[in-house]
């Protein structure tokens, strides 16, 4: 079970959180202006990297805030957590 530093509440057990997949995927501003393939990329395709993964978590049994986590998918180490709207920090696994 991970220990996750909620940017609002501090370190808490993983059971208080839910992961909501990859972060920093912006909804296309004008969906009609893009091709089906680009839309499908937004809806379905994810990077699934081996290494640093930027992902969204929600502290749903706590402050109920979404925030972002940089996690190394190889080691499962959490390298950084930061609030929505903040720039993704550069981290090395």
């Amino acid at each position: 079970m991970f220990l996750i530093e909620c940017p609002w509440c501090g370190p808490r057990q993983q059971i208080e959180f839910h992961c909501h997949g990859e972060a920093h995927i912006a909804r296309p501003v004008d969906p009609d202006a893009i091709s089906d393939a680009e839309w499908a990329d937004y809806v379905f395709n994810r990077t699934n990297p081996k290494g640093v993964h930027y992902e969204r978590w929600v502290h749903n049994h706590g402050c109920r805030r979404w925030f972002n986590v940089a996690r190394d998918t190889v080691s499962d180490r959490i390298l950084a957590t930061y609030r929505v709207g903040e720039k993704a920090p550069k981290v090395t696994p």
Binding site: M1, F2, L3, Q13, H20, A26, R27, P28, P31, D32, D36, W39, A40, Y42, V43, F44, R56, V58, N60, R64, R65, W66, S75, D76, R77, I78, V84, G85
Partner: protein
């Protein structure tokens, strides 16, 4: 004679406290401080089990968690537990244990015929013989499961209760031997919060079995003193009878504490076991080492024991397991056993695979006049249910062939040592990398991954002085890394120096005869894997350790191969001409020793497994005989049978009443979300498929929510309470997910929108009054004139008191009848329900449950999201194009309608079905075909999503998703049955069966 193997003095047992116990129906006596194993050995009982596959007689091999043989069925009845390790069972008055895997008795076991047939039961036998044809596997499996077996699980529920506890600490120390105690002491002195867990009744580990002295005291006494010091430190918690079982991510560890298992009569107020979930900043692993056996013919005979274990039984328990002992070794440690056996009164001979061994321990043995046969190997063991003698043979010059002179001798105990394997289980679980150590010929911790360090024997340090010193260093370093870097200074306790000669790695003991021919050479005792099996696996091409493990089942018993894994790897490496380090190990998995499900579940069983949510009117439903249905965590009335009524009768009555008189439903469980803010309407426009900006205050609108893939995921009615305030309703089961969905968009995507969402499901009690007399009933409790269709039209909301209670009343419903949904603060829910119930009596008021609700809505063709949809259904598939706005701009899922898959014309569409026989109700989930064949496969074109008998339509009705369904109206299709019965002939219809124009609801 009782306890004939008990020594007159010594050991950490209380001879003043005799305990009687029963094993396989025979009564024995032992003492407080004994384990079941030591008490059996005290009574000269060596035969305690039959082996897993060959049913060979087996004895007690070890004195700890690694025990592969002596597994027993402990206790009787509902508290009975299978596969319990005898060396870890504390003896208590009246203890009852039975041997396993034998019939009719341990002494005479019919299954032992497997041993004679073993030529025909090689490794992979079951795999090769029974994998084909696959269809017969179920038949074979029954016999195989009966033949192979350990104990029996009790059939009745567990009567005990278990606790769970979360804990945080700076330093967790796993193991209370010399290294662990010193680590805890040093870390504790530096001020860190420390938890030290030890699996035994009293911490001390090997010190309890050793004759060494520390600081001038007997080792066990020193250990007790150190434990007392630790217990007195306010920030230190000493947990005995506690096994650190699992090491997980981010230094999360689980421990199992056996709170009352050692009590004959445990108080009912105490939990049987406690499951600790510990988050530690730093971990010190001090888990010791496990001795490994040697592989020689018939090395599994009762009376063949690990040398260290023999020493434990002599020194710790005051038991002499045999009087004529042979100690067989490839290293110095077993000489300690020889000396202690001799001093306890046994005749002892040492057989050493090495030539001319020398060192402190060897000298001590020679000093005791113990005969040492160096450069010899045990090549034969005689005796069936107990070892009665051995033959040794001199080794050739290279020490690899037993070609020299032979000699036979009688013995009743053979103590074996093949060296020691550090207990690296937790280290490996923590994702640390193991390193092969040539001097010890075993794996030791290499590079760490987690915030942990190993100390003592589990780190490959095999001397007492080394363990003490390393423990201090590890404790100090752990405390320092946890932020406590002062005050921990601890002196190394004084011990006597011991010089040891090198171990000589030997795995398969040299013999003159071909492998397996002079008797089975067991590698894995618990799973009956022999050296010959490993050779077979190699011959058959199983080159990877992972394959070796699965093919031979080495290490796959309940002991996870604690005594066998390294030996099996070494044999494989030998065969491959590589090193053990190159061959590598399989991965160690938690738990270290088995943990009962009861302990993991803790208090979360029965009623406490999942919360039950009930409405304000729940007691009324119970009093009026409602049967309940679980919807999510909610208990919802399902139907209200009158005396003598079947479910079918009751539902038909409730459904008919809705169309003919008046009915009431407890609708409090529907999800309710209060949505406020200047951008609320804009937000709803993005969330729902239809338009919301112009919805007048006080009006309601039905909406569908989609995911971005264009598929329906929830629906409900939302009402504009004020310009910037809406009340959204969701499905009962989807409420939490919808709130999360809304929050996700607001917090992560549309952060510029000012909208606030609050769940108010629990704040309101809701009663839906429905039917031709609904207005009459409600009118009796409020101003009737306000309820006219003109003042209070369909799909609007008004606020006025009902029965004197301030209420929000919605003209919405799910039955297709004239309906009022009355919402009041939860505390008034029961009063409101009672008032409506009383007022409705003269109109035949009928309470109805979810089943009637489902029939009523199906008559109207209203879908239930999650029943008539499954995450692959668009609004257009449901025939609900009317709710998808083409003009309002973007909304979630809209762009996906243009996707190739969503816009294709052969999608499944919602239709109605009429069965040829009007009384036949289809099975929900049944497949629909155009042509019936005698057996599958048939081309499936859809499935039934809802099916009921409708008293109002006077026949059975069904909803279904069918390919190109809208084009098939009037077409005849078939619904085959899985059980081979006659397929039902059905006709495709419109999915609305009653009041197609929707006149009644608007009245």
């Amino acid at each position: 004679m009782t306890q004939r193997n008990r020594l007159a003095e010594g050991g950490r047992i209380d001879r003043e406290q005799p305990l009687s116990f029963r094993f396989d129906g025979t009564h024995y006596e032992g003492y407080a401080g004994d384990t079941l194993a030591s008490a059996l050995l005290a009574n000269n009982v060596h035969l305690v089990a039959r082996s897993f596959k060959y049913h060979r007689p087996r004895g007690i091999l070890s004195a700890g968690a690694e025990e592969p043989n002596a597994l027993v069925q402990l206790r009787e009845g509902t508290r009975s537990e299978p596969n319990m390790r005898a060396p870890q069972i504390e003896l208590l008055e009246g203890l009852i244990a039975e041997s396993q895997n034998r019939w009719p008795s341990l002494q005479f076991d019919v299954g032992a015929v497997n041993n004679l047939l073993s030529r025909f039961l090689p490794s992979g036998f079951y795999y090769k013989t029974f994998m084909w044809p696959a269809s017969l596997w179920l038949t074979y499996e029954r016999f195989i499961r009966n033949a192979a077996g350990l104990g029996r699980a009790p059939a009745a529920p567990d009567p005990d209760h278990y606790d769970s506890r979360f804990a945080w600490c700076d330093v967790l120390v796993a193991g209370g031997g010399p290294a662990g105690l010193m680590a805890a002491l040093a870390a504790g002195r530096s001020g860190a919060r420390v938890i030290i867990a030890d699996e035994q009744a009293e911490p001390g580990g090997w010190l309890l079995s050793d004759t060494a002295e520390i600081d001038g005291m007997p080792a066990a006494e020193w250990a007790a003193g150190t434990v007392a010091q630790l217990a007195a430190m306010p920030e230190v918690t000493v947990l005995s009878r506690t096994t650190v079982a699992g090491y997980y991510d981010h230094n999360f560890l689980t421990c199992i504490e056996r709170v009352t298992d050692h009590l004959a009569d445990p108080p009912a107020t105490m939990p049987r076991q406690r499951f600790w979930q510990v988050r530690a900043k730093q971990v010190v692993l001090a888990t010791g080492a496990i001795e490994r056996p040697l592989a020689f013919p018939n090395n599994d005979r009762p009376g063949v024991m690990l040398a260290g274990a023999v020493r434990s039984y002599v020194n710790r328990y005051g038991v002499l397991p045999g009087r004529r002992a042979v100690v067989f070794t490839n290293n110095d440690s077993a000489y300690g056993t020889a000396v202690d056996l001799k001093r306890a009164g046994a005749d002892v001979t040492v057989v050493d695979l090495r030539r001319e061994p020398a060192g402190t321990l060897v000298d001590a043995a020679v000093g005791e006049d113990i005969e040492v046969l160096d450069g010899f190997a045990v090549t034969r063991v005689s005796g069936g249910k107990r070892v009665s003698g051995i033959t040794v043979r001199g080794l050739g010059d290279e020490g690899i062939k037993a070609s020299g002179t032979s000699r036979s001798m009688a013995c009743d105990l053979l103590a074996v040592s093949g060296g020691w394997n550090p207990t690296v289980h937790l280290f490996s679980q923590s994702r640390g990398k193991l390193r092969f150590d040539d001097a010890l010929a075993t794996f030791v911790p290499g590079a760490s991954f987690a915030a942990e360090r190993s100390a003592g024997a589990c780190n490959g340090t095999m001397t007492l002085a080394g363990c003490l010193e390393e423990g201090i260093a590890a404790g100090l370093a752990a405390a320092r890394d946890a932020g406590f870097d002062e005050g921990g200074k601890t002196a190394v306790p004084k011990t006597r120096d011991v010089e040891s000669a090198a171990l000589q790695p030997v795995w398969l003991v040299p013999s003159r005869r071909a492998i397996g021919r002079a008797g089975k050479q067991f590698v894995d005792f618990q799973n009956d894997v022999t050296a010959a099996d490993v050779h077979l696996a190699h011959r058959e091409g199983y080159v990877s350790v992972e394959h070796l493990k699965r093919y031979t089942t080495t290490g796959m018993g309940t002991d996870q191969g604690k005594t066998s894994n390294v030996t099996a790897l070494a044999l494989l490496a030998e065969l491959q001409g590589s090193t053990i380090g190159e061959v590598g190990t399989t991965t160690f998995r938690p738990p270290y020793t088995p943990v009962s499900f009861g302990a993991i579940a803790g208090r979360n069983v029965g009623r406490l497994m999942d919360p039950a949510r009930v409405t304000a009117m729940h007691d009324w439903h119970v009093e009026h005989g409602a049967r309940f249905e679980d919807v999510g965590q909610w208990k919802r009335p399902w139907y209200y049978p009158r005396p003598g009524e079947s479910m079918h009768d009751a539902v038909n009555r409730e459904v008919a009443a809705a169309r003919n008189s008046v009915v009431m439903l407890d609708a409090s469980t529907l999800g309710k979300i209060d949505i406020q803010g200047p951008d609320a309407a804009r937000f709803l426009n993005l969330i729902y498929t239809n338009a919301w900006l112009k919805l007048p205050v006080g009006s309601c609108r039905y909406g569908l929510m989609l995911h971005e893939d264009g598929m329906v995921f929830d629906d409900g009615v939302t009402t504009r309470l004020a310009e910037n305030r809406f009340l959204m309703t969701t499905t009962t089961g989807g409420a939490a997910n919808v709130l999360t969905w809304l929050e996700e968009w607001l917090q992560t995507e549309w952060t510029d929108l000012e909208v606030y969402c609050t769940s108010v499901t629990e704040q309101w009690a809701t009663v839906s009054v429905s039917g031709p007399y609904a207005r009459h009933v409600l009118g009796a409790l409020t101003d009737y004139d306000k309820l006219s269709p003109r003042d209070f039209p369909f799909m609007t909301m008004r606020e006025f008191p009902v029965a004197g209670i301030p209420a929000r009343v919605f003209r919405i419903g799910f039955t297709g009848e004239l309906s009022f949904e009355v919402n009041v603060p939860r505390r008034h829910g029961l009063a409101l329900w009672d008032a409506l119930w009383q007022a409705g009596q003269r109109y035949g008021m009928t309470p109805y449950g979810t089943e009637a609700m489902h029939v009523l809505r199906a008559e109207k063709g209203f879908v239930i999201v999650g029943q008539d949809t499954d995450g692959t259904v668009t609004p257009m598939d449901l025939g609900m194009d009317w709710i998808v706005s083409r003009s309002k701009g973007d909304f979630i899922g809209r762009r996906s309608f243009a996707r190739e898959d969503t816009s294709r014309t052969d999608r499944k569409q919602l239709v109605g079905l009429f069965t040829e026989d009007p009384h036949q109700v289809l099975v929900e989930g049944a497949q629909i075909v155009e042509q019936v064949r005698p057996r599958p496969p048939m081309k499936m074109i859809g499935h039934v999503t809802s099916a009921y008998y409708s008293p109002n339509v006077g026949r059975s009705i069904a909803l279904a998703l069918v390919k190109r369904g809208r084009e098939r109206l009037g077409e005849q299709l078939w619904v085959p049955r899985l059980d081979g019965g006659r397929a039902a002939k059905v006709t495709v219809t419109e999915p609305v069966f009653y009041d197609r124009q929707g006149v009644r609801a608007r009245g």
